[in-house]
């Protein structure tokens, strides 16, 4: 179980491989990995976005992500979880968040990773501050629902 909140750009696919290598022989026990990666788009609510600052409340944010990881491990038969979240100055196309869940069964892996990203989106103290291409700056008001569109 690992939680990282970082100002550095990260490559989620490389981070998954690094983490899996650390897990070593446990690799023979999982049969399913589900991941979610959120990236920054260059538009939001109809406007062109140039840059973003992601504020957070440390260490409440890290504590909260640890707490939901533990809850996921208790609620489902999960072997491991990994959450990485970017903060600070962010550019379009940068990766913002990675959530991964390792399990013996695919249903468990899907439900746990879905749970982690929904809890993170709705309760982890992060706030997005956008700079639009026209120079305007604004706080993103709220996260959208996780329903399929």
């Amino acid at each position: 179980m690992k939680v990282v909140v970082t100002t550095e750009p990260f490559n989620p696919w490389e981070q998954i491989q690094v983490y899996e290598q650390q897990l070593g022989s446990q690799a023979l026990q999982w049969g399913a990995v589900t991941t979610f990666v959120g990236t920054m788009r260059d538009f939001n609510e109809g406007d062109d976005v140039q840059a973003m600052f992601l504020e957070h409340y440390s260490p409440m944010t890290e504590n909260y992500l640890q707490k939901i990881s533990q809850t996921a491990m208790q609620r489902w038969d999960i072997l491991d979880t990994l959450i990485i979240h970017r903060v600070g100055e962010i550019c379009p196309q940068d990766n913002i968040v990675l959530v991964a869940a390792w399990a013996a069964h695919r249903g468990t892996a899907f439900e746990a990773s879905r749970y982690l990203i929904e809890e993170l989106k709705h309760h982890a103290p992060f706030w997005k501050h956008e700079t639009l291409k026209n120079g305007e700056k604004r706080w993103v008001a709220a996260n959208t629902s996780g329903d399929a569109q």
């Binding site: 959120g38 992601l54 504020e55 957070h56 409340y57 260490p59 409440m60 944010t61 504590n63 979240h85 913002i96 968040v97 990203i117 993170l120 989106k121 709705h122 309760h123 982890a124 103290p125 992060f126 706030w127 997005k128 501050h129 706080w139 993103v140 008001a141 709220a142 996260n143």
Partner: protein, 77 residues
């Protein structure tokens, strides 16, 4: 007793304060800490609050040394 009150994101800009210390002699709820720190500005209904980095309700009673935080709906991920 002394409590630290913090504000984040758009709420910090709205109240014009990042962090303030309150020194009080009487028991204080989270809602009362807001009023003292914000000159009786009404507490907006969508504001979230935490004490010592755990989510709480406005009626939660504070203790000496507590850190209270007020912030708008979160937008991470």
């Amino acid at each position: 007793m002394t409590v630290t009150v913090k504000f984040f994101a758009s709420l910090r800009e709205k109240v014009g304060i990042g962090s303030v210390q309150l020194n009080v002699n009487v028991p204080l709820t989270v809602a009362q800490a807001w009023s003292q720190a914000c000159d009786e500005l009404p507490l907006p209904s969508h504001v979230l609050m935490a004490v010592n980095m755990e989510y709480v309700e406005p009626s939660t009673v504070l203790h000496d040394g507590d850190e209270v935080a007020f912030f708008p709906p979160v937008t991470g991920g």
